[in-house]
């Protein structure tokens, strides 16, 4: 394959970032927005072309009979440290990177268009588009990485651009602390990632993915059965790498940054915190999946973390008021679904299951990206109309905003898993994979799926039904209305995609080993999941369709649980306790004291002595040249005498 187009896919967003970042000040908002969107549109066309070429061309580079191959378009050495150790930058095409080449530009392009309306008139509009381009560049670079170090570089770039976008409204203190929190938490997790990379590359003597994933037994052999603290070193490396994924994908207990990251502009939440960056952790595990398959312990860890996160986030989402927070927790929960799906794809089951779990995870990644971006953009439209993030300020909006209403409903149906919407198909595959592994995980995830349907429809009914507040009075005569074409088009487009994309025969394109995998619905699982989802929806409808005091009574009946869920089970407080009370008070304060009194004291002492000494000897600096000569001469003679006496 020609390397021009893959290079352009990466170069255009980078160029756009530089152009808008450096020249944006001189541009009008309209020009900057149009340029950014056009750049992203070009990338969209090029990546679609690349991905479709990969999937459909039948070129022997890409497919060998029925097996899809991993194809390195280019792999350029960037930094050569030693003959063995080089950092390369490259472009890898395989089923999952081609999948991401469809997902990222699609969502990114929709967000670019949507932002034309949503961010209209905001200060720093050009900067916003520059950051969007930087983010798209980093994310594309991440998914096409040919080696784990390139992935790490772009991983950090993604984190940095996410930091910039969350903190876009940098005059708001909450936005500043949110972006710092996101950056610090993910950085902290990335430390684990880096250590994992170092361990892995230390034993395998390379960084490239392909030699590792195509020969997992060789990797296992290179570790030679080394163990550390009761677990094999390979498990440690994989778990540490997964820690990086936990940070980016907001898994328990590193999830605390994601809800706060909703301080960023809503389209950013749709792009970063729903569809692309947060699935980087899933993508990372999928990329290294052949290695994870070697170690049951690592997979078990992923499953447990994912299952716990999914349940926790679903619980919390049931008790939030801010609609973006609800969506954030639902994102955490859905990402956890993907993680669990990868985790249950263990090798010691029947061969079919590893294919199923892996495929289901990627399928859900794809569909979730579409419908969650849709939901976030819909939430953006609501916030734009009502000027509040809380559902308490909304209600009965279906009459005022029909387009938003319909598209949002489609998104909710998709995430709840009602056929024929996309989420049904992918979630059903995940549940099937869980049941194949172990009935416990299946039942557990089924319960989480029911909760998902409940909290999504709780939000839906509270926003669009419930009561009918007097908007005219609250907004000085302005009634909420559907947004303009720039914001409605992405909603409609994503709604259509969310409706139909479940019918894509996904197993044909993305499978674990490249072989085609025929999806056949397991109607026992599918039926029960539909049933449970419908029950949850009707329950939400019974509670929230019309204004009443049932929800309040329910909350009162187990007030402690509701409060705990509302306060997100006190994770932030626990973190604060650890950082403030233990780390700051216990460690930092003594260090600060030491710094202030011992180190600064020493330096102050130096300054004091120097000062006094200069005052004492400043009389020598009299300005009388001949005195200087005298001193010089005496010194020279003494020195000469010393040399003469001692040396000669």
């Amino acid at each position: 394959m020609d390397i021009t187009i893959p290079i352009l896919i990466l170069a255009i967003p980078l160029f756009m970032f530089l152009l808008l970042g450096l020249g944006g000040v001189k541009m009008s908002h309209k020009l900057a927005g149009t340029l950014g969107s056009l750049g992203m549109g070009t990338v969209l066309v090029l990546s679609y072309y690349t991905a479709f070429t990969y999937y459909f061309s039948g070129n022997p580079e890409f497919i060998d009979g029925t097996t899809r191959l991993q194809y390195v378009v280019f792999n350029q050495t960037w930094l050569q440290f030693t003959p063995n150790l080089a950092i390369k930058l490259g472009f890898l095409l395989d089923p999952i990177s081609a999948l991401m080449l469809i997902v990222i530009p699609t969502i990114s392009f929709m967000v670019h268009i949507y932002s034309l309306g949503y961010m209209e008139g905001e200060k720093g509009f050009q900067r916003y588009y520059a950051f969007l381009s930087l983010f798209s560049f980093s994310m594309l670079g991440l998914v096409v990485a040919t080696n784990i170090f390139q992935m790490y570089i772009f991983w950090e770039l993604v984190g940095a651009s996410s930091f910039l976008l969350i903190g876009f409204f940098y005059t708001l203190p909450s936005a500043i602390s949110a972006c710092k929190k996101a950056f610090i938490v993910t950085r902290f997790a990335d430390l684990g990632f880096l250590i994992g990379i170092l361990i892995l590359s230390f034993y395998t003597q390379q960084l490239d993915f392909l030699p590792m994933t195509q020969n997992p037994q060789g990797v296992l052999a290179s570790f030679g059965g080394a163990t550390f603290m009761g677990a094999s070193v390979l498990t440690w490396a994989l778990v540490l790498i997964f820690t990086g994924g936990m940070g980016k994908s907001a898994m328990l207990p590193l999830h605390i940054w994601l809800p706060d990251a909703m301080e960023g502009p809503t389209p950013v939440s749709a792009l970063i915190h729903a569809a692309t960056m947060v699935v980087a952790g899933v993508y990372l595990v999928a990329r290294l999946f052949p290695l994870y398959m070697l170690e049951d312990a690592a997979l078990m860890f992923i499953t447990v973390v994912g299952a716990a996160t999914a349940f926790y986030a679903a619980m919390v989402a049931c008790a939030q008021i801010d609609i973006k927070r609800i969506l954030a927790f639902s994102t955490i929960s859905q990402i956890a679904f993907m993680m669990v799906s990868l985790g249950v794809a263990a090798k010691d089951n029947v061969a079919i299951h590893e294919g199923l779990g892996y495929m289901a995870s990627m399928f859900h990644l794809f569909t979730h990206a579409m419908f969650k971006a849709l939901l976030f953009l819909g939430a953006g439209a609501l916030i734009h109309a009502v000027h509040s993030n809380n559902y308490t300020a909304m209600g009965g909006l279906r009459k005022y905003m029909p387009i938003t209403h319909i598209t949002f409903l489609i998104g909710c149906l998709a995430i709840a898993g009602i056929p024929p919407f996309a989420g049904f198909f992918s979630k059903d595959e995940i549940l099937a994979a869980c049941f194949h592994n172990n009935w416990f995980w299946g039942a557990w995830m089924m319960m989480v799926a029911a909760m998902t349907a409940f909290y999504m429809f709780r939000m839906y009914f509270l926003v669009f039904w419930w009561n009918n507040p007097d908007y005219a009075k609250e907004h000085h005569g302005h009634l909420p209305h559907d947004p303009g074409i720039a914001m409605s088009f992405p909603l409609i487009f994503l709604a259509i995609v969310s409706t139909v994309c479940g019918f894509i025969p996904f197993g044909k394109f993305v499978t674990f080993d490249g072989h085609e995998y025929i999806i056949h619905l397991d109607w026992a699982v599918a039926g029960s999941s539909i049933g449970i989802a419908l029950i949850s929806i009707f329950f939400a409808m019974w509670l929230y369709a019309k204004e009443n005091d049932k929800p309040r009574r329910m909350a009162d009946s187990c007030r402690w649980l509701w409060t705990a869920a509302h306060r997100r089970f006190y994770w932030d407080e626990i973190y604060l306790f650890i950082t403030r009370r233990i780390i700051f008070d216990g460690i930092c304060k003594p260090i600060a004291w030491f710094d202030r009194h011992v180190i600064d004291g020493t330096m102050d002492g130096f300054a004091y002595v120097t000062n006094k000494a200069s005052v004492a000897i400043k009389g020598f600096q009299s300005g009388k040249v001949q005195m200087y000569i005298w001193w010089y001469l005496i010194g020279a003679v003494v020195l000469g005498l010393i040399v003469a006496v001692c040396v000669l």
Binding site: W630, L633, G640
Partner: protein
């Protein structure tokens, strides 16, 4: 064994250097000091000639005797009030200066006599540095060639010209 003529030559030069040096710093009239300095510089040039460094002697005469001393004379004429051409020196200061200079002379002289008195007794033969050699040494970049210092000195002189103009300019 040097020829007698050479020895006589040496004595004339050495005596001229010593006498005029002493006179330079002891005369009270500043213009005379400059003149004695000129003689010292000439004697030095003669010494270079005697050591077969003709080019260096020529440079010494051209730059020192022709340039610097003229500069001195101009400066003296510009800065000295007519009739006020002498300075009285305090005898204490003179004595102190004498002690300092003698101390330095003693220290150096002792080192010289104890180390150099009986070595390098005869003048080794030498091929004259021809202009060709000098040019190559000055403009080459190899071993014992000095293009970089040469350039540095050029820049220094340029800076000096500009600095002199700037400092002495009337404000």
């Amino acid at each position: 064994m040097e020829s007698v003529g050479s020895t006589i030559c040496y004595w004339i030069i050495a005596l001229a250097i010593v006498i005029f040096s002493v006179l330079t710093v002891t005369t009270r009239k500043i213009l005379r000091a400059a003149t004695y300095l000129l003689f010292v510089l000439f004697a030095t040039a003669a010494l270079y000639f005697k050591l077969d460094y003709e080019f260096l002697g020529a440079v010494q005469i051209a730059v020192y005797a022709g340039g610097i001393v003229v500069l001195f004379v101009f400066a003296i004429l510009l800065t000295t009030h007519p009739g006020d051409n002498s300075e009285q020196l305090a005898s204490r200061k003179k004595l102190l200066g004498l002690v300092g200079a003698l101390c330095a002379a003693g220290a150096c002289g002792w080192a010289l006599c104890s180390r150099c008195a009986d070595i390098f007794t005869s003048l080794p033969s030498m091929s004259n540095p021809t202009m060709h050699r000098i040019g190559e040494a000055m403009l080459g970049t190899g071993y014992e060639q000095y293009l970089l210092p040469f350039e540095a000195v050029s820049v220094l002189l340029l800076a000096c010209i500009i600095g002199g103009v700037v400092i002495a300019r009337k404000r």
